[in-house]
Every structure is written in C-alpha cells, then in structure tokens.
Assembly symmetry: C2
Homo-oligomer: 390 residues x 2
C-alpha cells in the first residue's frame, strides 16, 4: 500500500520544513545524468552553491549522499594513512570526525571542549604547537548536537598560519548564519541539504579550496573510497564540456536542491541570516517568558538551533510525544552528554518563521502544563510578538 | 530561476522512465528520520525489498546513495586488508569492483571475459583452484555496459562449495529478471533504484546473508567507511524498537522507493519478468525487421538492456542526438570496449511497454534514414505488433 506521511511541522535539528516549491520540483520529469539539460542544471547548481558558500572555489558541488558522506568525502580525500589530524570536539560531530580520521589509518589528536561551549582557540594553538607535523585541522562550525557556533574564521586562520589545511563542518550553518569560505580561507567545507537550505535530506554540498584540490590531485595513495574520490567526481562535475560518467547522479533530489538554492538566492544570504536571527529572538523571548532557559551562552548561540533546558521533574520524552501526537510538531532530543537535559528546537530555513515560533511556544506551554509544571504569569506569545513588532 | 526539465522518454541504461505514482510520492510531506511513521515506512520497505530480492535476509535495506555506493558497501564491509578476492570482469562494472578491492588494501585476482559474453564458469573454477585462500567471489549478474546476464546461480554455488562468500551486482537485474538471493545463496547483493524498479536514481538496495552478516560482525578491523559501516547502519535499520541515529535518511527519496516497490509487489515479480521478456521480443523483432542486429548471444541477453550494433558508416552519436532532439528520446552509448560499436536500448521497469518499443523503432528508423542508410523493406512496427498479438 502506498505510504502517506502525516503533515508535520519540523522544528528539530533537521530535516526542517520543506518549502512547497521544493516538494514540487522533486516530482518533475526525470532526465538522464548526461542529458545536456542536466549538465545545465549541474552548472547552475555549482554557481548557486558558490553563492551560498561565499566562494569562488572551482570544486564546489553536492555529494550524492547525506551530510555524513560529505564529511567522509572531505576526510578521505585530504588525508592519507599515517597523517596527523587535529580534531576539535565539542559535541557529537567531533567524535564522528575522529572515527573518519582513524578509518583513514591516520592519527587523530583530540582537542576537547565541554558540550555546549565553543571550541577554545588557545587549546587549539597549544595542540598545534605540540604537533607541528599535523597536516589538517578539523572542526565543527555549527554544532548540531548542542546549538553552538565556534569561531570558524579564527580556526581557519590558525590552520593556515601553521601550514595546515582546514576541514570545516557547517552542516547546520549554511544559509542560517554567515559561512564565508573564501574570506575565512576554509580548505574543505561540507554541509547538508536538510537544515537551513530546507531541502529534503540526502545531499551534501561540499567545496574545496585550490590548496585542498592540489592536495587531492597530489596524493601518493588512492582515495580509499571509490564513490567519494574527488579525482573521479570532478571529472563528472568539473568544468569540461565532456563529462565523464562516474556514478548516476540523484537527478530528482538535485532538482530539489537547485530549487532550494534558488530560493536562498532570491531571498539573499544576508536577509536569510537576519530572518534566522529575528525568529530566534522571538522564540527566546517566548521561552524566557515561560520560565525556560537556553543554556548555551548568548554570544555563541546558533539562532537556527536552540538548546532549551528541560525543567526539573519533567519527562522530556513525554513532552516530545505530546507535541508530536497533539500538535504534529517535531522537536529534537538532546544527544550524548546532553541527552535528557535539553530539547533541541530548530528554526531552520523554511521552518524559521513566526507561525512556527508561535506554534512551538503554545504547544510547549500546553505540554508542560499537562505535566503539572507551574509556569510564570508572563504570556509567551505576547513576548514573542513584541520582538516582531519592535 | 527554477529548473524545468524537458519531458524525455528514457530508454538508455538507466535512469528509466519514472512511474507517475513515484513522482507524486516524492513530493509528499517530509517527516523526521526518527518519526514513528517513518520507522513504519522503513519496516515496510525492508519487507518489500525482501520480496523483490526473494530473500528472508534480515539485513536488507536501501543504502542512502546510488548503486556505486551499494557496491562499495558490499566490498568495504566484507573485505579486510590483505584479503584475496576473485573478481569476474566482462564489462565496466568488473573493473569498478577491482578498484573497490584494491582500495580496501586487498588483492584482486581477475578472471576476464570478452565484453558482450557471459562469465566463463570454467575459468572461475580454475581461478578458485589456483587461489584456494581467496575469501570472496565477486561478479556482475546483469552487466549494464553490455546487456549480458551471467549464471549467478552457478557462480554463487561455486563460491559456497569452496568456502567463499559471494558478492553479486544486480543493479540492472532486480525486477527485470529473476534475482533469487536465497535460492542461489548470494551473500552480499546490491542493486539500484533507477533501473527496473523505475524509481529515481540515488538509492541502492542491498541484502546480506547471515554468513555475510556474521563476517561483518566478526571483522578484526573497522570498516574503512563510517558512512557505509553496516555494523552502524544496522543499528538504525535493524529490527530493534529502539533505532539509533546513524545518518539522516533521505526521507523523500525513500517515499519514492517504497512506492516503486509497492508497484512491483502489486504487479508481481513473475509478471514483471514476463513483461520485460515480451517487450524485449517485440523490440528485437522490430530491430531485426529493420536489418539491425543484437550482438549479444540470445541465451545470455538481458531483456531489459539491449545492445544494438551500430551499422557500418553510421555516426552513432549523431543518431542519439537526433533521437534526443527530435523525439525527446534517450538511448545509451556503448561504454569502454563497446564505445562507438553499439547503442544500449533500455526497456526497464515503467519504460518496458509497447508504446516505448514503437517510439524507439520509429525514431531509430527515421534517424537512420536521415543518415542515408538503406533499410530493408520489412516494417518494424508491424513486426513488433506481431509479437504482441501472438
């Protein structure tokens, strides 16, 4: 029997709500992966991604698989067995980076910070001093597991000034906050389709600087993944008129991504960042009026992913079930060190809008009252509305 | 600007025409990858895939990336550095298997057959005798580059009787001809969504026998790909009530695959094979009436992928351009050793229907006449129709 999903409002850590323009694009007629019209789509997608990443990098394209594969593409292409990589960890995705490094037969030097805090630049400097032979510095710009932004610009600069390449995870960053690949000098950067781009999950935009591209071309060993070998992928996505078949591209998913990037282009990057910031402020005002707190320090808080502290005595899973069952609203649980301690409320892409802020506040209030929590007298919706009318 | 693809008829080596039921499914509302309703979709997809693969294998699921990643998933999970693998090569995909083996740090023993012929069982037996320490036998059941079926049942039996595991590529086979994973005893099998399942490209159904699953669980080294590590993937797709997040599944693409598998289930496997066989016979009758020949020997010819010899003096690329530009019809070029020598005409899934057979015959006739080819007096459409009315 055909599957008919319920209509949800997606305010977790991703996927986010998909713009109807994108849903419609997905169903357009499938064409061949070497069709001249498809080549045109690829060229336009590259240009649109360069805009989103703020880069002129020639090697800019979507990997035909989810963000985890984008991460892997960066690691397996830049790293060879025996290399040393400094990996910053302040959430789930740093530990996934460590896995990637070790599976390349390389050595991961971990720089650990507490979950919910930003990467400490001083610790990174010390690690670089202690390991002058490290080849790559890897870090998460926007940690999806905690809602923290780290100082990507300074981290890229630290790498560069020490002759290292940088790998930057900005799966949750792209489109929601500034991601300036060229200005920062990031060498290998990956993102995901299903966060602030509001596309369906399954694709991972990546971009490689000329230094990274040279490193990939100059490897002494083959990339361990055939599917993710950028030396081969660039023969298909590259600038040549003649595209060499590598793998069959996910045609319709790419229609969706093209539409998502067109929407971002139409809105404008800075307008998109401003919208994410505004809706975050409204959500924060409402949550605080309800007596809830956002444990991540304000200066490093991602507007698109809000960690909200679970009040004492509240069964966090029951609240999420209440929201899902009675409001068809999805918010996220905490992960790892934050499991049971926070909810993660996403305001990403098409989900970042006043209607969602109001729905989330009223639903959360209802669910908390149902659990017997005493809430302060302030009106959360009015507090949010006050932000919009400022 | 939004991208609006032309409407093509896809009769190349894949993607094939997508059933409108599938296009519609793709645009349904996105839900979360841990939503209880999505878990239900995953369970149903597994059952539908078990039907398609004719297996009870517990570890049966779609890899969240195209067929090349499905191939890689089989190799990187079953093979460890230093292992020896016998790889049969009678087309493009055998050489891609060799790449996979070598990138695992393993040794590929190649058994080569001419392109356009089936795998020679005697040569495989000899290779096994010469390399009793080989762990895996890898082969292509349905070679997309040549249109040849090899004797998968005997190859799996050869592997088993010599204590080896088998890896079977049936990207182009599944749904178009019999693929009996349990009856044949295939250990690791992968396919693609965009061939005889007529879904959009981007997913790779795989299935692992209990012997393969034990081998994966008993590895002495970690799988070199984190994204494709079945030890982790099975925690998300496995039978437990508690699904552990691994990567964000490509939700909407999976709606499409579920619909494609539902369509196959509704039609019935044997009915689908019979339809593929019938349309192949009609195409063949029409092509032969036109004086064109199918160079692959009849007993090993894939009904869903027809290699057609390019007549002397004909510019094969000009014919394909003519079909694309004047008929919006895509057929495939030859690859590798067959480049310039054959076209590849697909009759896969939703593309396998009388209307497509007739379109292809009339378009090809027009394009060949335009190049000045003298065609025999027989009427191709009448010859095809005669097959349908038998």
């Amino acid at each position: 029997m055909s599957f008919h999903p319920p209509k949800r409002t997606l305010m977790g850590p991703g996927p986010s709500d998909v713009d109807p323009r994108i849903s419609e694009a997905l169903g357009r007629p499938t064409i061949g992966h070497l069709d001249p019209e498809f080549i045109r789509l690829m060229d336009e997608t590259k240009t649109l991604l360069q805009y989103a990443f703020m880069t002129n990098n020639e090697l800019t394209l979507p990997i035909s698989a989810p963000g985890s594969a984008g991460m892997e593409a960066c690691f397996v292409n830049l790293i060879e067995a025996g290399d040393k990589v400094i990996v910053c960890q302040n959430g789930v995705f740093g530990s996934r980076m460590k896995e990637n490094v070790e599976r390349c037969g390389a050595i991961a030097v971990m720089v650990e910070d507490e979950w919910g805090t930003a990467i400490d630049l001083d610790k990174v400097s010390e690690a670089i001093k202690a390991h002058p032979d490290a080849k790559v510095l890897a870090f998460v710009h926007a940690e999806t597991s905690t809602g923290v932004e780290s100082d990507a610009k300074s981290l890229c600069a630290l790498a560069k000034s020490n002759g290292m390449l940088s790998i930057m995870d900005t799966v949750t960053g792209l489109g929601g906050i500034k991601v300036a690949v060229d200005e920062w000098g990031a060498d290998a950067t990956y993102s995901g389709s299903q966060k602030c781009l509001s596309c369906t999950p399954g694709l991972s935009p990546v971009t490689f600087s000329s230094a990274a591209t040279e490193a990939i071309k100059g490897r002494t060993s083959k990339v361990q993944s055939w599917f993710l070998d950028m030396n081969l992928v660039m023969g298909y996505w590259g600038g040549n008129a003649k595209r060499a078949y590598h793998h069959t591209a996910p045609i319709n998913a790419l229609y969706g991504l093209h539409e998502a990037l067109t929407i971002l282009n139409d809105e404008g990057l800075e307008q998109s960042w401003a919208r994410h910031a505004l809706n975050h402020s409204a959500l924060k005002a409402g949550l605080e009026a309800m007596g809830l707190s956002l444990p991540v320090e304000e200066s490093i808080r991602l507007p698109q992913l809000n960690a909200v502290a679970v009040p004492d005595g509240i069964d966090e899973a029951a609240v999420r079930s209440h929201l899902l069952n009675d409001f068809s609203l999805e918010i996220g649980a905490g992960l790892g060190a934050l499991a049971g301690k926070v909810w993660r409320v996403g305001l990403m892409g098409f989900s970042s809008k006043p209607a969602n802020v109001r729905l989330c506040l009223s639903a959360l209030e209802t669910a908390l009252l149902a659990q017997g929590l005493k809430l302060p007298a302030g009106d959360a919706i009015q507090a949010a509305n006050a932000v919009y009318s400022d």
